[in-house]
Symmetry: C2
Subunit: 172 residues, 2 copies
Protein backbone atom coordinates (compact mmCIF):
# COMPACT_ATOMS: atom_id res chain seq x y z
CA UNK A 1 0.00 0.00 0.00
CA UNK A 2 1.33 3.38 -0.99
CA UNK A 3 2.05 6.07 1.59
CA UNK A 4 -0.36 8.38 -0.18
CA UNK A 5 -3.17 5.86 0.09
CA UNK A 6 -2.46 5.27 3.75
CA UNK A 7 -2.53 8.99 4.43
CA UNK A 8 -5.83 9.21 2.58
CA UNK A 9 -7.24 6.50 4.82
CA UNK A 10 -6.11 8.27 7.95
CA UNK A 11 -7.63 11.50 6.74
CA UNK A 12 -10.94 9.73 6.34
CA UNK A 13 -11.23 8.62 9.96
CA UNK A 14 -13.24 10.41 12.58
CA UNK A 15 -10.03 12.00 13.83
CA UNK A 16 -9.10 13.43 10.46
CA UNK A 17 -8.95 17.03 11.60
CA UNK A 18 -6.53 16.34 14.42
CA UNK A 19 -4.50 13.95 12.31
CA UNK A 20 -4.16 16.39 9.47
CA UNK A 21 -3.14 19.32 11.64
CA UNK A 22 -0.65 17.07 13.42
CA UNK A 23 0.79 15.91 10.16
CA UNK A 24 1.32 19.42 8.84
CA UNK A 25 2.84 20.68 12.04
CA UNK A 26 5.09 17.71 12.77
CA UNK A 27 6.41 17.97 9.26
CA UNK A 28 7.01 21.68 9.42
CA UNK A 29 8.52 21.56 12.89
CA UNK A 30 11.04 18.96 11.85
CA UNK A 31 12.27 21.30 9.13
CA UNK A 32 12.21 24.44 11.23
CA UNK A 33 13.68 23.06 14.43
CA UNK A 34 16.54 21.37 12.66
CA UNK A 35 17.38 24.57 10.84
CA UNK A 36 17.30 26.93 13.82
CA UNK A 37 19.22 24.44 15.90
CA UNK A 38 21.88 23.92 13.29
CA UNK A 39 22.36 27.43 12.01
CA UNK A 40 21.85 29.39 15.20
CA UNK A 41 22.80 26.80 17.77
CA UNK A 42 19.73 27.43 19.86
CA UNK A 43 16.42 25.69 20.47
CA UNK A 44 13.58 27.05 18.41
CA UNK A 45 11.87 28.43 21.50
CA UNK A 46 14.76 30.78 22.04
CA UNK A 47 13.99 32.55 18.83
CA UNK A 48 10.27 32.81 19.61
CA UNK A 49 11.32 34.41 22.85
CA UNK A 50 13.59 36.81 21.01
CA UNK A 51 10.74 37.65 18.69
CA UNK A 52 8.42 38.45 21.58
CA UNK A 53 11.03 40.59 23.31
CA UNK A 54 11.64 42.50 20.11
CA UNK A 55 7.95 43.20 19.62
CA UNK A 56 7.27 44.19 23.21
CA UNK A 57 10.32 45.81 24.80
CA UNK A 58 10.31 45.39 28.56
CA UNK A 59 8.09 42.30 28.38
CA UNK A 60 8.25 39.91 31.33
CA UNK A 61 8.75 36.15 31.19
CA UNK A 62 5.26 35.35 32.40
CA UNK A 63 3.82 37.39 29.54
CA UNK A 64 5.90 35.57 26.96
CA UNK A 65 4.55 32.37 28.40
CA UNK A 66 1.07 33.43 27.38
CA UNK A 67 2.08 34.38 23.87
CA UNK A 68 3.83 31.09 23.22
CA UNK A 69 2.16 28.43 25.33
CA UNK A 70 5.19 26.78 26.85
CA UNK A 71 6.14 25.80 30.38
CA UNK A 72 7.64 28.57 32.46
CA UNK A 73 11.10 27.07 32.73
CA UNK A 74 11.40 27.03 28.95
CA UNK A 75 11.17 30.82 28.92
CA UNK A 76 13.64 31.07 31.79
CA UNK A 77 16.18 29.02 29.93
CA UNK A 78 15.64 30.80 26.65
CA UNK A 79 16.07 34.20 28.30
CA UNK A 80 19.20 33.06 30.05
CA UNK A 81 20.66 31.71 26.81
CA UNK A 82 19.83 34.88 24.87
CA UNK A 83 21.31 36.97 27.66
CA UNK A 84 24.50 34.91 27.72
CA UNK A 85 24.92 35.54 24.00
CA UNK A 86 24.28 39.23 24.30
CA UNK A 87 21.09 39.15 22.25
CA UNK A 88 18.95 40.57 25.02
CA UNK A 89 19.51 42.25 28.35
CA UNK A 90 17.51 41.71 31.52
CA UNK A 91 16.70 44.53 33.91
CA UNK A 92 15.13 44.02 37.27
CA UNK A 93 11.82 45.84 37.30
CA UNK A 94 11.93 49.03 39.37
CA UNK A 95 8.46 48.37 40.72
CA UNK A 96 8.81 44.68 41.52
CA UNK A 97 12.16 43.09 42.24
CA UNK A 98 10.88 39.64 41.31
CA UNK A 99 10.24 40.65 37.73
CA UNK A 100 12.81 41.02 35.01
CA UNK A 101 12.12 43.31 32.12
CA UNK A 102 13.58 42.00 28.88
CA UNK A 103 15.00 44.15 26.09
CA UNK A 104 16.55 43.19 22.78
CA UNK A 105 20.08 44.38 21.99
CA UNK A 106 21.36 45.61 18.63
CA UNK A 107 23.06 42.31 18.11
CA UNK A 108 19.82 40.53 18.94
CA UNK A 109 17.86 42.68 16.52
CA UNK A 110 20.33 41.85 13.78
CA UNK A 111 20.02 38.10 14.27
CA UNK A 112 16.27 38.34 14.61
CA UNK A 113 15.93 40.20 11.32
CA UNK A 114 17.83 37.43 9.62
CA UNK A 115 15.67 34.69 11.11
CA UNK A 116 12.50 36.59 10.33
CA UNK A 117 13.49 36.86 6.69
CA UNK A 118 14.21 33.14 6.48
CA UNK A 119 10.99 32.32 8.30
CA UNK A 120 9.04 34.42 5.86
CA UNK A 121 10.52 32.42 3.01
CA UNK A 122 9.58 29.26 4.85
CA UNK A 123 6.05 30.51 5.36
CA UNK A 124 5.77 31.17 1.66
CA UNK A 125 6.90 27.62 0.90
CA UNK A 126 4.47 26.12 3.35
CA UNK A 127 1.47 28.09 2.14
CA UNK A 128 2.42 27.99 -1.51
CA UNK A 129 -0.41 25.57 -2.33
CA UNK A 130 -2.96 28.20 -1.28
CA UNK A 131 -3.82 31.31 -3.25
CA UNK A 132 -4.22 34.63 -1.50
CA UNK A 133 -7.94 34.26 -0.83
CA UNK A 134 -7.47 30.75 0.51
CA UNK A 135 -4.70 31.90 2.81
CA UNK A 136 -6.93 34.56 4.27
CA UNK A 137 -9.74 32.08 4.77
CA UNK A 138 -7.37 29.62 6.41
CA UNK A 139 -6.02 32.34 8.65
CA UNK A 140 -9.47 33.51 9.64
CA UNK A 141 -10.60 30.01 10.57
CA UNK A 142 -7.39 29.22 12.44
CA UNK A 143 -7.85 32.46 14.33
CA UNK A 144 -11.30 31.34 15.41
CA UNK A 145 -9.81 28.12 16.74
CA UNK A 146 -7.09 30.04 18.56
CA UNK A 147 -9.67 32.32 20.14
CA UNK A 148 -11.74 29.37 21.32
CA UNK A 149 -11.91 29.00 25.09
CA UNK A 150 -10.84 25.35 25.06
CA UNK A 151 -7.54 25.57 23.26
CA UNK A 152 -5.50 25.70 26.45
CA UNK A 153 -7.89 24.00 28.83
CA UNK A 154 -9.78 20.83 28.15
CA UNK A 155 -12.59 18.96 29.72
CA UNK A 156 -12.11 15.92 27.52
CA UNK A 157 -8.41 15.70 28.37
CA UNK A 158 -8.34 17.00 31.89
CA UNK A 159 -5.52 15.17 33.67
CA UNK A 160 -7.13 15.83 37.04
CA UNK A 161 -10.26 13.93 36.10
CA UNK A 162 -8.09 11.22 34.65
CA UNK A 163 -6.22 10.49 37.84
CA UNK A 164 -9.07 8.35 39.04
CA UNK A 165 -8.81 6.31 35.91
CA UNK A 166 -6.73 3.20 36.11
CA UNK A 167 -3.45 3.19 34.22
CA UNK A 168 -4.46 -0.14 32.92
CA UNK A 169 -1.81 -0.37 30.25
CA UNK A 170 1.07 0.18 32.63
CA UNK A 171 0.63 -3.18 34.26
CA UNK A 172 3.04 -5.05 32.00
Amino acid sequence: MQTRDMLDSIFETELRHLMLVSYVVLGNNAVTNRYIEKVYGMPVHAWSTLFAISMFPGIRAKEIKQLFPRPQNTISRAASLLDARGLIRQETSPTDAREKRLYITDKGAEILAEIRATSLERQEELFAPLDEAERETFFRLARKIADGPQLLTSRAMDPAGAETRERRDASA
Copy 2:
Protein backbone atom coordinates in the same frame (compact mmCIF):
# COMPACT_ATOMS: atom_id res chain seq x y z
CA MET B 1 -0.62 45.63 27.68
CA GLN B 2 -3.11 42.80 27.70
CA THR B 3 -2.23 39.35 26.42
CA ARG B 4 -5.03 39.57 23.89
CA ASP B 5 -3.65 42.79 22.44
CA MET B 6 -0.15 41.36 22.23
CA LEU B 7 -1.47 38.30 20.41
CA ASP B 8 -3.32 40.59 18.03
CA SER B 9 -0.08 42.41 17.30
CA ILE B 10 1.77 39.19 16.63
CA PHE B 11 -0.98 38.04 14.30
CA GLU B 12 -0.58 41.23 12.32
CA THR B 13 3.09 40.70 11.49
CA GLU B 14 4.37 39.28 8.23
CA LEU B 15 4.78 35.92 9.97
CA ARG B 16 1.18 35.78 11.15
CA HIS B 17 0.37 32.51 9.42
CA LEU B 18 3.24 30.62 10.99
CA MET B 19 2.71 32.28 14.35
CA LEU B 20 -0.95 31.44 14.44
CA VAL B 21 -0.53 27.83 13.45
CA SER B 22 2.26 27.50 16.02
CA TYR B 23 0.10 29.01 18.70
CA VAL B 24 -2.78 26.66 18.07
CA VAL B 25 -0.60 23.60 17.93
CA LEU B 26 1.63 24.38 20.89
CA GLY B 27 -1.46 25.00 22.95
CA ASN B 28 -3.18 21.84 21.86
CA ASN B 29 -0.08 19.69 22.20
CA ALA B 30 0.46 20.81 25.75
CA VAL B 31 -3.01 19.59 26.63
CA THR B 32 -2.81 16.37 24.65
CA ASN B 33 0.72 15.33 25.57
CA ARG B 34 0.18 15.89 29.26
CA TYR B 35 -2.97 13.82 29.17
CA ILE B 36 -1.60 10.84 27.26
CA GLU B 37 1.54 10.87 29.34
CA LYS B 38 -0.31 11.01 32.61
CA VAL B 39 -3.18 8.65 31.94
CA TYR B 40 -1.45 6.09 29.76
CA GLY B 41 2.13 6.49 30.88
CA MET B 42 3.47 6.67 27.36
CA PRO B 43 4.74 9.42 25.07
CA VAL B 44 2.14 10.69 22.65
CA HIS B 45 4.03 9.22 19.70
CA ALA B 46 3.41 5.78 21.08
CA TRP B 47 -0.29 6.16 20.60
CA SER B 48 0.07 7.52 17.07
CA THR B 49 2.12 4.44 16.37
CA LEU B 50 -0.59 2.24 17.87
CA PHE B 51 -3.15 4.03 15.73
CA ALA B 52 -1.18 3.40 12.56
CA ILE B 53 -0.67 -0.28 13.42
CA SER B 54 -4.35 -0.68 14.08
CA MET B 55 -5.30 0.87 10.75
CA PHE B 56 -2.74 -1.04 8.71
CA PRO B 57 -2.07 -4.48 10.17
CA GLY B 58 1.38 -5.71 9.25
CA ILE B 59 2.68 -2.19 8.68
CA ARG B 60 6.44 -1.69 8.92
CA ALA B 61 8.24 0.94 10.99
CA LYS B 62 9.53 2.79 7.96
CA GLU B 63 5.97 3.20 6.71
CA ILE B 64 4.78 4.61 10.03
CA LYS B 65 7.59 7.10 9.78
CA GLN B 66 6.01 8.47 6.63
CA LEU B 67 2.56 8.72 8.14
CA PHE B 68 3.76 10.59 11.19
CA PRO B 69 6.86 12.53 10.24
CA ARG B 70 9.17 11.58 13.08
CA PRO B 71 12.73 10.35 13.28
CA GLN B 72 13.18 6.65 12.80
CA ASN B 73 14.32 5.93 16.33
CA THR B 74 11.13 7.41 17.72
CA ILE B 75 9.14 4.71 15.96
CA SER B 76 11.58 2.02 17.13
CA ARG B 77 11.14 3.07 20.72
CA ALA B 78 7.39 3.38 20.47
CA ALA B 79 7.09 -0.08 18.94
CA SER B 80 9.33 -1.56 21.59
CA LEU B 81 7.30 0.08 24.36
CA LEU B 82 4.00 -1.07 22.89
CA ASP B 83 5.39 -4.56 22.49
CA ALA B 84 6.64 -4.66 26.08
CA ARG B 85 3.14 -3.78 27.27
CA GLY B 86 1.50 -6.37 25.09
CA LEU B 87 -0.38 -3.83 22.99
CA ILE B 88 1.19 -4.98 19.73
CA ARG B 89 3.22 -7.90 18.53
CA GLN B 90 6.12 -7.83 16.11
CA GLU B 91 6.71 -10.53 13.54
CA THR B 92 9.77 -10.77 11.40
CA SER B 93 8.73 -10.45 7.79
CA PRO B 94 8.90 -13.79 5.91
CA THR B 95 10.24 -12.08 2.80
CA ASP B 96 12.79 -9.79 4.44
CA ALA B 97 14.37 -10.62 7.77
CA ARG B 98 15.27 -6.99 8.40
CA GLU B 99 11.65 -5.94 8.48
CA LYS B 100 9.23 -6.37 11.33
CA ARG B 101 5.54 -6.54 10.62
CA LEU B 102 3.51 -4.95 13.38
CA TYR B 103 0.10 -6.13 14.54
CA ILE B 104 -2.19 -4.80 17.23
CA THR B 105 -3.31 -7.16 20.01
CA ASP B 106 -6.76 -7.33 21.59
CA LYS B 107 -5.45 -5.47 24.57
CA GLY B 108 -3.98 -2.83 22.28
CA ALA B 109 -7.25 -2.46 20.42
CA GLU B 110 -9.06 -1.93 23.67
CA ILE B 111 -6.75 0.84 24.83
CA LEU B 112 -6.75 2.41 21.41
CA ALA B 113 -10.55 2.54 21.29
CA GLU B 114 -10.53 4.40 24.56
CA ILE B 115 -7.94 6.93 23.41
CA ARG B 116 -9.73 7.43 20.11
CA ALA B 117 -12.95 8.25 21.92
CA THR B 118 -11.21 10.78 24.14
CA SER B 119 -9.36 12.27 21.18
CA LEU B 120 -12.62 12.69 19.34
CA GLU B 121 -14.00 14.65 22.26
CA ARG B 122 -10.86 16.73 22.24
CA GLN B 123 -11.20 17.35 18.53
CA GLU B 124 -14.74 18.56 19.09
CA GLU B 125 -13.53 20.97 21.74
CA LEU B 126 -10.78 22.31 19.57
CA PHE B 127 -12.93 22.84 16.52
CA ALA B 128 -16.00 23.95 18.44
CA PRO B 129 -15.60 27.56 17.23
CA LEU B 130 -16.12 26.43 13.62
CA ASP B 131 -19.42 25.33 12.17
CA GLU B 132 -19.63 22.29 9.93
CA ALA B 133 -19.03 24.18 6.69
CA GLU B 134 -16.08 26.04 8.16
CA ARG B 135 -14.54 22.80 9.39
CA GLU B 136 -14.76 21.31 5.96
CA THR B 137 -13.17 24.42 4.44
CA PHE B 138 -10.42 24.36 7.03
CA PHE B 139 -9.81 20.70 6.42
CA ARG B 140 -9.70 21.14 2.67
CA LEU B 141 -7.18 23.98 2.88
CA ALA B 142 -5.02 22.17 5.44
CA ARG B 143 -5.04 19.17 3.14
CA LYS B 144 -3.72 21.30 0.33
CA ILE B 145 -0.87 22.41 2.57
CA ALA B 146 -0.15 18.83 3.58
CA ASP B 147 -0.05 17.78 -0.06
CA GLY B 148 2.36 20.56 -0.94
CA PRO B 149 5.79 19.36 -2.02
CA GLN B 150 7.64 21.57 0.43
CA LEU B 151 6.13 20.49 3.71
CA LEU B 152 8.91 18.02 4.46
CA THR B 153 11.71 19.54 2.44
CA SER B 154 12.64 23.16 2.34
CA ARG B 155 14.81 25.37 0.24
CA ALA B 156 14.47 28.33 2.58
CA MET B 157 15.49 26.27 5.59
CA ASP B 158 17.86 23.79 4.09
CA PRO B 159 20.46 23.01 6.75
CA ALA B 160 22.96 21.93 4.12
CA GLY B 161 22.95 25.33 2.49
CA ALA B 162 23.15 26.88 5.91
CA GLU B 163 26.38 25.17 6.86
CA THR B 164 28.31 27.74 4.94
CA ARG B 165 26.65 30.47 6.90
CA GLU B 166 28.50 31.69 9.93
CA ARG B 167 27.05 30.83 13.28
CA ARG B 168 27.56 34.41 14.23
CA ASP B 169 25.48 34.26 17.38
CA ALA B 170 27.46 31.44 18.89
CA SER B 171 30.52 33.57 19.48
CA ALA B 172 29.58 34.58 23.02
